[in-house]
Symmetry: C2
Subunit: 265 residues, 2 copies
C-alpha cells in the first residue's frame, strides 16, 4: 500500500490495560492507523480499535526474543516513507520509560514527522486502585517515578531518592523487591507505608499493602510478580484506611462504566 | 431529585485541557453524572459531556473567592446521600496534587462510596508538546513531580531533589521561577536544559526552551505565566533538537485527529 500523502508516526500511549483508560484521542488515532506496532504489556484487544491497520507485534514477551530496537525504528521509518500512518503503541504513558526518547530521536534524525498522544501511566492507576492520592499534602510535596531496571545493571541512588521525603513509585522493581526494600530501609523507617499493585488499571489488577519492612513478604505470599508498581511513602498509608471502609472497591470500579453504557445504549 | 439507589462520588481526572485527552471511561462516567462539581483549571466545555447533570463550579479563579474545601466535601456527601451520582472533576490526574487525598479521606470517613478515574497529568502533555520523553535513558532514571506551592509557604528541599539527577517537573512554580532556578543552580549547572510549557495539552499551549540559567528570562520575555509546568534536566535537552526539525509540530498535532474524524464521519 503506497499513498500520495505524507506519512507520519504517531506515538500512542495505551494506558495501563483497561481499554476504557485510553484517551479519546488515542482511540481516534488508532481508527485512522494504516500500520500498528504493538509493544509488550499492551492489552492485545487494542487492535479492535484499529480495524484498517496491519498489526505488527514487536514485544519482548511471549517466549520470543526481544525485537531489536534498531529494527523497530527502521520499520517505522519505512512505512512512514511510503506515505502511511504508522501508530506505535506503548503501555502506560509513552513518555515515561520504555525508550520513547530513543525512538523519537531516530525518527527526528530520519526526518519523519511524528506526533505524540499521552496516556495514563500505571502508577496513577495503582493509586486509583488503592483509593489514594500519590501526593497527599499532609505527607509529601511530590512523587518520584523511577525505574529499578537500569541499562548498565547498576542501581538508582536509593538513599538520595528516599531522602527527598517524596512518595516513591518504582517501576520494574519486582525481581529485586526484597533487596530494594532493605536498601530503602537504610534511609527510611521500616514502618513507612508501602504497597504493590500488579497489572494496575486492568481487569487482572491485584494489590497488597503493608510497610517497607513487610511488603516484600506480603507480595511474595500473594504471588505478585511483574508487571507491578511498588509504592513507598507516608501518603501510601491512606490506602489501609481506605481498604477498611471499602473492601469491595475492586468490584465496584466498573459500576459507573456499566451505568454509563446502559444509558447510552 | 432523590432516587432509590445508593449514591456515590466518582473522582474524574479531566486531563490537561483538550477534551480529546479525557479517557473513554471519564467520558462515560460524565454521561451518567447527576451532579458535576467542576474544579478550577478544568476546560469548561467538559460539561457538554454531562448533559444530565447539574453543574456546580467550585473553582478558585474568575474573581471569586476560593470555595472552602470543607464546603465542597459536604456538598459531595449531601448529594451522594440522596442517591445521586456525583462526579467531582479535577484537572490533570486527580491523584497528583489538588487535594484529592483530603477529599477521599472525608468521603471515606462519611461512608460514601467513591471511585476514581485516572487522566493525563499536565507534565506528560508538556513533554508531548516538546516532543521528548521525560526519562530518556541516556540522561536519567526517572522523573520527580513536585509542587512549588506548599501549604506552609516553605520550599521543597531543592538541593535534595536536584541531587537525585532525575528530571524535575515542577508544578505551580511560575510565580517564583526566577528564585527557583537560582536555587536549583546551587546544585545543577546553569547549562542544564530547561523548558516552560503553559496550558500544556490545550489549544492555548505555549512553550519556551532554554537552560536553567536562561529559562526564567525566556519565559518572562514570552509572557508565559500560570498555569505552567517547568521542566529541568538533561532529558529536556532533546527538545531543542526536536524543535529544529519540527518547527510546525504544534499545528500538526491535530491532523491525526482530523483524519480520524473524517474517516468515522
Amino acid at each position: 500500500m503506497v499513498t500520495g500523502k505524507e506519512g507520519k508516526v504517531t506515538l500512542v500511549s495505551a494506558g495501563p490495560g483497561d481499554l476504557d483508560l485510553l484517551t479519546l484521542k488515542a482511540a481516534k488515532v488508532l481508527a485512522s492507523a494504516d500500520v500498528v506496532l504493538l509493544d509488550d504489556l499492551v492489552n492485545p484487544e487494542i487492535i479492535t480499535l484499529a480495524p484498517r491497520a496491519r498489526v505488527i507485534r514487536v514485544g519482548k514477551r511471549g517466549g520470543c526474543r526481544s525485537t531489536p530496537q534498531a529494527f523497530i525504528e527502521r520499520l517505522m521509518q519505512r512505512y512512514a516513507r511510503r506515505g502511511l500512518h504508522v501508530v506505535r503503541v506503548k503501555g502506560g504513558d509513552a513518555l515515561l520509560f520504555g525508550r520513547a526518547g530513543e525512538e523519537l530521536a531516530a525518527l527526528r534524525e530520519a526526518g519523519v514527522r511524528v506526533e505524540i498522544v499521552n496516556g495514563v501511566s500505571s502508577a496513577f492507576a495503582a493509586a486509583a486502585g488503592l483509593g489514594i492520592s500519590l501526593t497527599h499534602r499532609d505527607h509529601c510535596q511530590g512523587v518520584i517515578f523511577v525505574t529499578a531496571h537500569l541499562r548498565d545493571h547498576s542501581e538508582p541512588d536509593w538513599h538520595a531518592l528516599a531522602a527527598t521525603g517524596m512518595t516513591l513509585a518504582i517501576y520494574m522493581g519486582m525481581s529485586r523487591i526484597e533487596s530494594l526494600c532493605a536498601t530503602l530501609a537504610n534511609t527510611l523507617s521500616t514502618a513507612t507505608p508501602a504497597a504493590v499493585v500488579q497489572w494496575a488499571g486492568s481487569v487482572n489488577e491485584r494489590r497488597v499493602t503493608g510497610t517497607l519492612g513487610t511488603i516484600a513478604a506480603h507480595a511474595q505470599a500473594a504471588g505478585l510478580g511483574s508487571p507491578a508498581i511498588i509504592l513507598v511513602g507516608n501518603a501510601i498509608g491512606e490506602a489501609a484506611l481506605f481498604a477498611q471502609t471499602s473492601a469491595s472497591f475492586g468490584s465496584h470500579a466498573y459500576d459507573a462504566l456499566e451505568d454509563a453504557l446502559r444509558i447510552s445504549a
